[in-house]
Amino acid sequence: MTPTIDLELILYITALGLISIGLAGVVLSQHLFRMVLALVIAEAGANLMLVLAGYRWDAVAPILTSLGEHPQMVDPVPQAMVLTAIVIGVGIQALAVSILIRIRQRFGTLDRHEVAAHMDAEIAQIAGTSRDMSQESPLGERPLPPLPGTPAASREGRS
């Protein structure tokens, strides 16, 4: 059974590797579309992982070919789940791509930082705030101004 075990190991490594590569891709990409693609890769890994969770080497697909005694079959549940997960993934990717199209149209770029900068600017513009992270004190918390006619020094006692 030595070779089969190796094979399984390879499958697991593949699955986990896909997840790692995908996640690393998401973390490191500069381009939003690449991030979405990386996500697809990671998702594939996760799906593979799921299928592996119910897989047996010495078994057949879970379809009855004859009535009566049936041979050992792989677990049908993960297969059903993967089916579901894949479709979900497709739906989300399609949505992501359509959003990307719009972003590209609005901002003219899909670079992550540039998009973020555009977004911040737009949010600030809509809200009517200044966008920069300036160092000035927030509202209402500035030190008390001296009363009119009072020398500033007199208020700052050794308190």
Partner: protein
């Protein structure tokens, strides 16, 4: 530097996951539920494809959820991309092979699609797979002739009615006093085409819905080239 960081991160992540996964039992999953389902599924659902019985029976509501996700994605994409479709002239007309191949393949794809859907409870395949083929059937002409359009009203009719009929079938069971989505009309004809009661109907609904959603999504993406 960046690449190095990425490499380190991915490698570390993979190593970590691997070290965790090494605790798994290779090749001998516990299959508690799986075994149980295998042993009773044919009797309970009347489908020889046990995956189908899981997808439509045991985990029927997952499938419903999944349909809803597709629907939601399509609706969301519709919201994002808007209604106005300007088919810009960026796409070149397909060549001879594409045009006529598409036309020729259309009935074939339709047939295969429906075949796969209707035999979902017997053989590998089912609503999802068939639905995708159906979508492809409708989409092929679109590639061939950029000017062509899918009839969106029609698509939404199909997706709406397919989805709601899935639910309706479930609700009928509920109205009969059974549980929601309980398979009904199970004949004792395991292995035949007409054997699994309402499951093929459900799969038909799934297939139509998936086909319609995918076609809709794709056409949305294909047709939206510039903002109105």
């Amino acid at each position: 530097m960046r690449n190095l960081t990425g490499l380190l991160f991915a490698g570390g992540l993979g190593f970590m996951l691997l070290s965790i996964a090494s605790g798994l039992d290779f090749g001998a999953p516990p299959m508690l539920v799986g075994e149980a389902i295998q042993s009773v599924a044919p009797q309970e659902t009347g489908a020889t494809n046990i995956v189908t019985s899981v997808v439509l029976g045991y985990r029927g509501i997952d499938t419903l959820g999944e349909l809803s996700i597709l629907f939601a994605a399509a609706a969301a994409a519709g919201l994002v991309l808007g209604r106005r479709h300007t088919t810009a002239g960026t796409l070149t007309e397909g060549g001879f092979v594409l045009r006529y191949g598409g036309a020729m393949l259309f009935p074939l794809l339709m047939t295969i699609g429906f075949y796969i859907i209707f035999h979902g409870h017997l053989t590998p395949g089912g609503g999802f797979q068939g639905g995708v083929i159906l979508a492809a059937a409708f989409f092929l002409p679109l590639l061939a002739r950029p000017g062509a359009r899918l009839h969106h009203g029609m698509l939404s009719m199909i997706e709406g009615f397919a989805g709601s009929s899935f639910i309706l079938i479930g609700l009928v069971a509920l109205a009969e006093g059974e549980a929601f989505l309980q398979p009904m009309l199970i004949q004792d004809t395991l292995g035949q085409l007409v054997s699994a009661g309402t499951l093929p109907l459900l799969y038909l609904a799934v297939g139509l819905k998936v086909g319609a959603e995918l076609a809709g999504l794709l056409s949305h993406l294909a047709q939206t080239e510039s903002e109105a």
